[in-house]
Symmetry: C2
């Protein structure tokens, strides 16, 4: 089995590394527009060879597209134009636009839309590592639009990475992503911006960072290449969440302003409900 | 050396446990209005004995006040009214109001205002554990208002817990706390509220939680008994930070609304500056 990885970053690189180690594939071909990424991927044995896009697709059995979401639709269509029996899958955190873009493509059934819910605040092939996916969830969207064979193969692939597969329609997926993942990133980015604006002396941040700040601000280390496209591609869902979130902050603000102990207690008690969900 | 802990929760309990293990004190007396906390503290050997407030203060060499910040000033004054040579310290995350309250007290010099920057989202004596403070920072405020002997003894105490002591005036401390700690909690509480409002099906939260949500929402498990008083006691600083924070969120919102890639890239790049500060 030959796997091609288009976009050798944290996710693409980690998938390649682990599937090779677990002998799901015997060769990984890398495609990446960055010469630097190509070099790191070869040096770190994430991929065996680097080929041009067209060659790679033709030589392989499975093609993984793991590039920023604003470019996924275009590249996916170009890949589908070239494939015969190959299976293609992507790993982006937005699914509806990508799926719509290839809806009418004659090779639509060769494509499986997936979103492995795993990652770190680091990026690039140098951040790729084995074990990233273990015990996590992979979401497969609109599986009825893919061939049974393709869904089975990709499900098996994620099983080998230690993931459980669940199924969802793309529209629901994008709403949930906005609520549970995208908003956390905006919240962290803004936290970092506020604190750095105010705390010109970095020592104060360091000294106070034991107080929970470090975990809430962790995601602010995430890169613009991945996140700017996510924010604009999932625009309508994210704007809805942002409005909700700002509304909640304003509730806190007015309760503090008015010394409204009862309202603050009530808001905190409601927020504590998350304990029942996340152990 | 006999230590009295008034308020046997996560912080008070952890300090007691570790100081006893490290033989800084040979007896710990507990004072707590909750019968349940008293029982847990005795059963878990966090304290050796439970006494009434008055008896405990008179029997001990050092008195730690570790209760919610809205009650600290009152209790501190009552303790200072009783002390002779005893040293008193508190561990609250707001310092200015507490210090002002006892400014003119004849025993002011016996009191050291401290804030060990450590904690978890859990509370109560059952959450107390050894090692909570290791490698973290303790802040001592307005040290020139305390006797040299008291500051030395309390600095030694925190050294034994594995902490580095730094010095700050109370006003600066409260501003930094608002920026680096209190806002993180509000941000987390509101994140939890937004997500739970929308995601009526808890499974969706669980399935998506691998995506960074878990770390940004961790602090939303914190309890109202501690945090409502912090928010109202540090009101003016917190309102300033909240306004900043909401302003940043609105910048993100308008950039997303207008598909302004350049502005989004710029905001994320600025936020990434936190990488240089926190490793």
């Amino acid at each position: 089995m030959i796997l091609t990885v288009i976009g050798i970053g944290l996710i693409g690189g980690s998938i390649a590394k682990e599937l090779k180690q677990k002998k799901f594939c015997n060769k990984v071909i890398g495609v990446d527009s960055s010469i630097n990424h190509q070099k790191i991927a070869l040096n770190n044995k994430i991929v065996d060879e680097i080929y041009s896009f067209k060659q790679a697709v033709q030589m392989s059995d499975i093609i993984l597209i793991s590039i920023p979401v604003d470019n996924t639709s275009k590249v996916l269509k170009e890949v589908l134009d070239l494939v015969d029996k190959q299976i293609v899958f992507d790993v982006g955190s937005i699914k509806e636009k990508v799926i719509q873009h290839v809806n009418a493509h004659p090779k639509r059934k060769n494509f499986v839309a997936t979103h492995p819910i795993a990652g770190t605040e680091f990026s690039g092939p140098e951040a790729a590592h084995i074990g990233l996916f273990k015990g996590k969830i992979n979401i497969i969207c609109n599986k009825e639009e893919s061939s049974k064979e393709a869904v089975e193969k990709i499900s098996e692939l994620y099983h080998i990475l230690g993931m459980e597969n669940i199924y969802m329609n793309a529209q629901d997926h994008d709403i949930h992503s906005a609520y549970v993942s995208h908003i956390s990133h905006i919240s962290s980015f803004c936290l970092a911006l506020s604190v750095m604006d105010k705390e010109k002396d970095e020592k104060n941040i360091l000294n106070m960072a034991g107080s929970g700040f470090e975990s809430t601000v962790r995601l602010a280390k995430s890169n613009k290449e991945m996140w700017t496209p996510i924010f604009t591609e999932n625009k309508s869902n994210i704007l809805a969440v942002l409005n909700d979130y700002i509304e909640k902050l304003n509730s806190f603000k007015s309760a503090i302003k008015e010394d409204d102990y009862e309202k603050l207690n009530d808001l905190i008690l409601q927020a504590n409900g998350i304990k029942k969900i996340l152990n």
